[in-house]
């Protein structure tokens, strides 16, 4: 067969191509000013504005910064990634990739790299603002940082998958802005980012608790709280770390299933 004689050299591996995709994605991301302003800087700007109103004592600063980091990484993963997949569908990136020997998994690895790096930038910028302006302190124990790490990773992955799944509904980038931003903004109110979940009516509290944002923010609050006594301010009266892992894990699996079933390369019906 001609195939056998021609492919003496093997095609590059899936992971290798995923890393190459990630590098290209990052390069493109950081060259677009709107990404730097909206995706990376907006949470820090909101922290600065809202913090000036809300934060009058150290404890409040810690809690608010934690919630804002949660909201921020979900903005980069859920909204940002969803939008970038829709844009890839719109500008021909996906159509082009589909005609090459690059595996779909590599495309997705590239996107995950993009989301992790942009989320990290966003979180670091926000923390720097919080530390300089509101004297927020970083967690001091390895245990807290460990919690920070796994909440960050699970939060980013689960919300990325849901964002990509939802992107299949959107027909254009304009359309996607609504499809992705509406649930995100509503959830910020239901998940204890701007208002403590404890003051919400039970129905809204339950609704918010179905989605990842509440759990990511709660996880971060457990990391940044001055001491564990602040857990009484949570709706459940405790940090519920086990439950956080379970909910985010479940959303990751659900997101994976949704993406593999609903992902579309193009807008056209096939």
């Amino acid at each position: 067969m001609t195939t056998a004689t021609l492919s003496k050299k093997a095609l590059p591996g899936t992971l290798e191509l995923g890393l190459a995709r990630g590098a290209a994605e990052l390069r493109e991301f950081f060259r677009q000013k709107e990404n730097l302003i909206f995706t990376v800087s907006l949470p820090a700007i909101l922290m600065l504005l809202l913090g000036t109103v809300y934060v009058h004592e150290a404890a409040a600063g810690q809690m608010f910064a934690a919630s804002m980091i949660g909201a921020g990484i979900i903005s980069t993963s859920f909204v940002g990634l969803g939008m970038s997949v829709v844009a890839d569908r719109e500008d021909g990136t996906l159509k082009r990739l589909r005609g090459t020997p690059m595996p779909f998994t590599s495309y997705f690895i590239g996107k995950i790299i993009l989301v992790f790096v942009s989320s990290l930038f966003e979180a670091v910028l926000l923390l720097v603002v919080a530390m300089l302006r509101f004297d927020v302190e970083l967690p001091s124990t390895a245990e807290k940082w460990f919690t920070f790490g796994w909440v960050f990773v699970l939060g980013v992955i689960s919300c990325s998958l849901i964002g990509v799944a939802l992107s299949s509904i959107a027909k254009s980038t304009r359309n996607a802005a609504g499809v992705l931003n509406l649930p995100y903004i509503v959830l910020q109110f239901l998940s204890g980012v701007f208002i403590s979940q404890a003051v919400l009516p039970e129905s809204l509290r339950v609704a918010g608790s179905l989605f990842p944002l509440k759990w990511v923010c709660q996880g971060f609050r457990s990391v940044f709280a001055l001491n564990d006594g602040y857990a009484v301010m949570e709706a459940a009266g405790s940090w519920e770390l086990g439950k956080i892992a379970l909910v985010l894990g479940a959303w990751t699996i659900a997101g994976l299933l949704l993406v593999t079933r609903t992902f579309r390369w193009t807008h056209e019906a096939s």
């Binding site: 001609t2 195939t3 492919s7 050299k9 095609l11 191509l17 290209a24 493109e28 005609g99 020997p101």
Partner: protein
């Protein structure tokens, strides 16, 4: 073995038969043009061959593989040149070509490809700043970087100014001269005439004629029209022996405004798709 072999291809969308029984053979090393008006089924047919679309019926073999079952190894032997992509806008030409080269086992040298498509001076420019013609040249570069055996060009020069089209044709001829098989769709007749070894006319989802640009639709054997100005105004004679006719006519003296015409590819084409 032919590069492309299609028998009885059919595809319908919601009751509309886009492709209604197409047979097609494209030999290796051939430049084959599919001509047809908008909505004739060109893009659907090509996308089925590329493996981007399913089909309802028919046999399809592209480089010996059924596109519906094409794997990575098969994809690496194809080059698909996109029609209206605006992707990779913030990457430079050089970055984009080098990046896509990584997808293949045995790619061409990216710098050579940039040179081949005539973008050496634009290598450091971002793709989003290129003109329409330059952008399509970048698309060709990305389509051929993997050293494809078969290249698909779907209406590649739509929206080009005349100069950009001529330059683009030069590039396609260069690829053809290297032995690459090329399947081209177009609705420009002069494009098909300039580039293609063989042409098929697609109308209403069917191939209504096939042949070389010279012989398509019986063009080579069609009667010529001899036309001149006589005392009675313009006079025309349709004949298969125009030389003889003119020789006889010219015995009576000079023929004013003499022309001999044969049906152009456009005349034949318009007749075929009518």
């Amino acid at each position: 073995m032919n590069a492309i072999r299609v028998r009885g291809l059919r595809k319908a969308y919601k009751g509309h038969q886009a492709v209604a029984g197409v047979d097609l053979d494209v030999a290796r090393g051939e430049v084959f043009a599919v001509l047809g008006p908008n909505g004739a089924g060109k893009t659907t047919s090509v996308e089925i061959l590329e493996g981007h679309r399913g089909r309802d019926a028919g046999e399809v073999s592209v480089l010996g593989v059924d596109p519906a079952k094409g794997d990575r190894a098969w994809r690496s032997r194809l080059g698909i040149v996109l029609q209206s992509a605006t992707d990779a806008a913030t990457l430079t030409v050089r970055e984009a070509v080098h990046h896509y080269a990584k997808y293949y086992a045995d790619p061409r040298d990216p710098e050579e490809v940039i040179d081949l498509v005539g973008l050496t001076e634009k290598a450091k420019s971002r793709a989003g700043t290129l003109s329409g013609g330059q952008r399509r040249r970048l698309d060709v570069a990305l389509g051929i970087i993997g050293r494809p055996e078969l290249v698909f060009l779907d209406e590649p020069t739509t929206g080009f100014d005349p100069e950009a089209r001529r330059q683009f044709w030069g590039l396609i001829k260069l690829l053809a001269a290297e032995g690459t098989t090329i399947l081209l769709t177009t609705h420009y007749l002069d494009e098909a005439e300039a580039l293609a070894d063989r042409v098929a006319v697609l109308a209403g989802g069917r191939i209504v004629a096939e042949g070389t640009p010279r012989t398509l639709g019986g063009r080579a054997h069609a009667e010529a029209t001899v036309r001149w100005m006589s005392d009675r105004g313009y006079t025309e004679i349709k004949t298969s022996e125009p030389t003889k006719v003119i020789a006889e006519l010219s015995r009576h003296g000079e023929l004013a405004e003499l022309t001999v015409t044969r049906p152009s590819l456009e005349d034949v084409y318009l007749e075929l798709i009518a």
